[in-house]
């Protein structure tokens, strides 16, 4: 859940997507600025956090990186439940990973937090010569489903920070409808807080 303090926002974010699509690599790039050619498969799930400054506010992402294989599906709801944002990652060099991404989108639309900010990441954009999923196809799909879309590369760092930054910008806006009375949000600790101005 996203909670807002004095211009500080804590946002739970989950990464979903096929095995080997690059979820862990994207997180590792974002959190540590690293890339490993042979990133170990994720078993279960892993947690990371990273803070971003967006305009005059900061957003602290609490990130759950999940295991991608279909068989691990039953463990996923625990991680996306209550998440404020999700990045659904596919690998532009495999069609299955894109189909899998669509399934995740459907599932989140059904089961996830209705205000969740969803991003679709077409990862491994550096492997242009092996591309099978066209950017246009993915963009159209994303638009139709209310996601925003970027092609990323954990390897070259292309669009990795950007996608988190974009989510950070969208977060407060997505939270606003939850508070019909106005913009005053009160978080768990009882701090009175205001959504930062970036959400206008």
């Amino acid at each position: 859940m996203a909670t807002i303090g004095h211009n500080n926002l804590n946002a739970k974010l989950v990464l979903l997507g096929d095995m080997g699509a690059g979820k862990s690599s994207v997180v590792l790039r974002f959190v540590k600025g690293q890339f490993l050619e042979f990133q170990e498969s994720t078993i279960g799930a892993a947690f990371f956090s990273q803070t971003l400054a967006v305009n005059d506010a900061t957003v602290k992402f609490e990130i759950w990186d999940t295991a991608g294989q279909e068989r691990y599906h039953s463990l996923a709801p625990m991680y996306y439940r209550g998440a404020a944002a999700a990045i659904i990652v596919y690998d532009i060099t495999t069609q299955e990973s894109f189909s899998r991404a669509k399934k995740w989108v459907q599932e989140l639309q059904k089961q996830g937090n209705p205000n969740m900010v969803m991003a679709l990441a077409g990862n491994k954009a550096d492997l242009e010569e092996k591309r099978v999923v066209l950017a246009e196809e993915a963009r159209t799909y994303a638009e139709e489903n209310g996601l925003f879309f970027m092609e990323t590369s954990a390897k070259t760092a292309k669009n990795v920070n950007e996608i988190f930054y974009e989510i950070a910008k969208k977060l407060p806006r997505a939270q606003a409808p939850q508070n019909p009375a106005g913009m005053v949000l009160v978080d768990r600790q009882g701090d009175a807080a205001r959504a930062s101005s970036c959400c206008s």
């Binding site: 095995m19 490993l36 050619e37 042979f38």
Partner: protein, 432 residues
């Protein structure tokens, strides 16, 4: 781009990297106590005598083992808890897991599975191969012998049991085994574990819905609450549950992302005593850090639960602590409690196929019939039961005369092959 490409390093002998005593490439900043430990324990007179005792206990190629275990089960248990000598580990693992018997009863089957069959999981396996122990010298070379045997074992298993197929996590188990035995031996050990040759079958860890993972996590959660109530309470407050930190303990039996020297010691006991030790070690880890853990907020807590301090990871203090935690009875009770709600897990090969059909036909309302069928197949299976699989395999292959004949080949030949292999194995380790 800070990290170099590993395949470049693996391709030639020109850039030898410092590795630890198990063959893992040391992280640049590592000052692990590995070397210190080694000089203390290996090469000493005491160590030599220990290996000798073990050799006597095993006999040539394992010939005396069963006899010894029958006569002095407690001596065996005690010695295993002290750690199996590394040079004998591969052989002893095969003896205590029942995999050696499976191998002998199924000559030629492994080869069949590797060479002639194809599996729907092949792509998944390939995708994971270079992502399994990528920092180990044996596995890091692309298409090298390590990766090839890892692929073969996993593929063979995914054919052998198509319901399980390949599941992420199995690679780490197979990888750990392959550091101590041949492909075929590793395969049968995997079969012994998943099908339950000696202990309860583990296949439920990997079946659709991960039923056994769910059960273990449920049990572990309540064990924590019972044994470490203060920590349990703190976990509840911070909304931490075991699936956030312990699922990989169960799924890979500590072979994933865990200090290797400790994993091996856990495996010694795990193969002899069963999964109970995984719970015990889990609880012992929490107990050792209890006073720190209860003070930590969510994020630091998660981090701490994934990165236990080095001094806690010392097998000679952690394991005795683990054994001091008595959990047999509560573990069983919690299993029953779980089954009351979720139905039984840990099913037999034969029962499961039928059951699945029943389930698919009737939806979830078939719980009772499901249970009845499972009860039949519930007891721990002997290698003979597992042999059934061979019969069906044989039927499967019967259209191929040549291969069929191979399956029926004489057992004597593999025994000799085994002896040869064991003596090789022993000398390989003895000289290294």
């Amino acid at each position: 781009m800070e990290k170099k490409k590993i395949d470049e390093d693996g391709s030639g002998p020109s850039s030898p990297k410092p590795v630890d005593r198990f063959g893992f490439i040391k992280p640049e900043s590592s000052n692990s106590p590995d070397n210190l430990k080694r000089s203390k324990s290996s090469g000493s007179e005491r160590e030599k005598r220990r290996v000798q005792k073990w050799r006597k206990m095993i006999g040539v190629g394992g010939s005396d083992w069963k006899h010894y275990v029958r006569r002095k089960p407690l001596v065996v248990k005690r010695r295993i808890r002290k750690g199996i000598p590394d040079c004998l580990r591969g052989l002893v693992w095969q003896l205590i897991s029942g995999s050696r018997d499976l191998l002998l009863m199924n000559p030629g089957v492994y080869e069949q599975l590797v060479i002639y069959e194809t599996s729907a999981s092949e792509l998944d396996i390939i995708r994971d191969i270079s992502r399994t122990f990528p920092s180990h010298v044996f596995f890091q070379q692309r298409h090298g012998p390590g990766q090839r045997s890892l692929y073969n074992v996993l593929k063979a298993y995914s054919v052998y049991d198509r319901d399980v197929g390949y599941v992420q996590g199995m690679g780490f188990i197979a990888g750990l085994l392959l550091l101590y035995m041949s492909e075929e031996d590793a395969f049968w050990l995997l079969v012994a574990l998943l099908k339950g040759a000696v202990h309860a079958p583990m296949e439920g860890l990997y079946l659709s819905g991960l039923p056994l993972v769910q059960q273990y996590l449920f049990q572990f959660d309540l064990l924590v609450k019972e044994y470490l109530p203060k920590l349990g309470e703190h976990f509840s407050q911070e909304v931490i549950n075991p699936s956030m930190y312990a699922s990989q303990w169960f799924i890979t039996v500590f072979s994933y992302s865990f200090p290797f020297h400790l994993a091996l010691r856990i495996w010694d006991v795990f193969l002899y005593e069963g999964v109970k030790v995984v719970f015990r070690v889990g609880l012992a880890l929490l107990k050792s850090c209890h006073d720190d853990l209860v003070k930590l907020p969510f994020e630091k807590l998660i981090h701490a639960l994934r990165n236990f301090p080095e001094e806690v990871m010392d097998p000679d203090t952690l394991l005795p602590l683990a054994y001091s935690i008595k959990i047999s009875k509560p573990l069983e009770e919690l299993k029953l409690e779980y089954e009351k709600v979720h139905g039984k897990e840990g099913q037999s090969i034969i029962a499961r196929g039928k059951q699945k059909q029943v389930l698919e036909r009737n939806g979830s309302s078939s719980r009772n019939s499901k249970r009845a069928e499972k009860q039949k197949g519930e007891s721990i299976k002997s290698p003979e039961t597992i042999l059934l699989k061979k019969v069906s395999l044989r039927r499967h292959f019967s259209h191929r005369k040549a291969e069929h004949d191979k399956l029926d080949g004489p057992v004597a030949q593999p025994v000799q092959e085994l002896k040869r292999r064991d003596s090789q194995l022993m000398s390989r380790h003895a000289t290294s």
